[in-house]
Amino acid sequence: MLKKLLLSAIGLGVITLTMTEPANAAGEDTAYVFNTLLFLIGGFLVMWMAAGFAMLEAGMVRSKSVAMQCTKNIALYSIAGIAFWVLGYNLMYDGVDGGFFGSFTAFSVPDPSVDTGDYSAASDWFFQMVFCATAASIVSGTLAERIKLIPFLIFVVILCGIIYPIQGAWQWGGGFLSELGFSDFAGSTIVHSTGGWAALMGALILGSRAGRYNEDGTVNPMPGSSMPLATLGTFILWLGWFGFNGGSQLALGSLEDASSVSKIFMNTNLAAAGGVVAAIILSQVLYKKVDLTMALNGALAGLVSITAEPLMPSPLLSIIIGGIGGIIVVLAVPMLDKFKIDDVVGAIPVHLLAGIWGTLVVPLSNDGTSVVTQFIGVISIGVFVSVVSAIVWFVMKSTIGIRVSEEAELSGVDKAELGMEAYPDFSKS
């Protein structure tokens, strides 16, 4: 079975050569345990990102939509797990062979008694599954406060069962992109941009929140209900990202792998820090005020930017890559508003734009890659995800409908769709 290891093999050249030997040195079983442990630790850290998205989104929507946002996040993480097991995993990894998708065999993961590879199959499944869930989380933030619950969840099923695994197969499943030499270490494009494209299509087809844009082109800010929850969510995501990027080394059982994971931790942290600092400085310069939500988005943009290649850059380059991610966010957030694209939490700048940036900048530090190939990867995945997502959104829009009524939206989706309030004890509109 080809896994993400294949990608590493292509991407990392020299280091790969020594990859199996140290495993021997440390003992094959020991390496197996270490590798498995890396997947498990990385996996639970990325799982924890689901809580991060939930808190970030709960903090960034108005209080009348908070319970819905919580509902969506716990539901989407659950659905992602089931959909990726029913269909996604095999579609992504089973017999892709340089092609466009794997097998449509339902019910993934081979019998665990055949665990004879470099790590436990179940640990790999767990690790890959949480990545898939991450892509779905991205969509939920952008479309908050106006989308109906059921159509959103249907989209999650399709995204996690079909869209994500197919494009993932192209690269991490050993499909045509990986054969072309595309490189996306931990998924700037495969996870983050994918979520971002799906969100963008949703935002375009769903439309903006009622009252969000005035006829004169000005914007009515709709401040998030809880800055501490948004901050908590960002810190959770930051923490989870050590698993996201570090775990994507896919091996821990040798001196080289352990060192690589360590460097990834360091670069990941510095890129996020660069994103925060850049966003703070730029928002101070542009608006004469530091904007906390921009700093939070900046951290995430820094993280997304370094995700395509967290290992090879020097620390300084990591700070710069992340810092530019932070700048992208500060500039792109009001830009989207210009186009009346209503992205409630800033997921499109953070995940889509910084994801593209991170993918294109890989060749700066990774000799085995080229801007052209990176571009091909970005475009092919972008087109595929956008087109399929748009079709799914359109079909649902013209059948079951994807948007709550204006009255429901004004009184809040929490009351209208869930019949509850997130903070029932506090008087508020």
Binding site: G211, S411, G419, M420, S427, K428, S429
Partner: protein, 112 residues
Amino acid sequence: MKLITAIIKPFKLDDVRKALVDLGIEGMTVTEVKGFGRQKGHTEVYRGAEYEVNLIPKIQIDLVVKDDLLDSATSAIVEAGKTDKVGDGKIFVSDVQGAIRIRTGEKDAEAL
């Protein structure tokens, strides 16, 4: 001077405020309240238990105006606050005997 107390739907606040500003009204005070009225609450289910929601979030606007602005102000509120659905709210009018601007000590009409 009259005190106009208007109870409106929360999402109408901005429209009503703008309508009043257009009339030249320079001050008002806004309170978040909950209303009980004909707009009977609906039945909700929480953890399997049904219950009536009786109190519905509303916004109360209090503004003290000179007598000559009374009619235009109430009309403006009616105009801007109406959705033609039950629960649009009420306007109450009562007498105010005096007003003082704390900053300057100005009285009555000057204080508004």
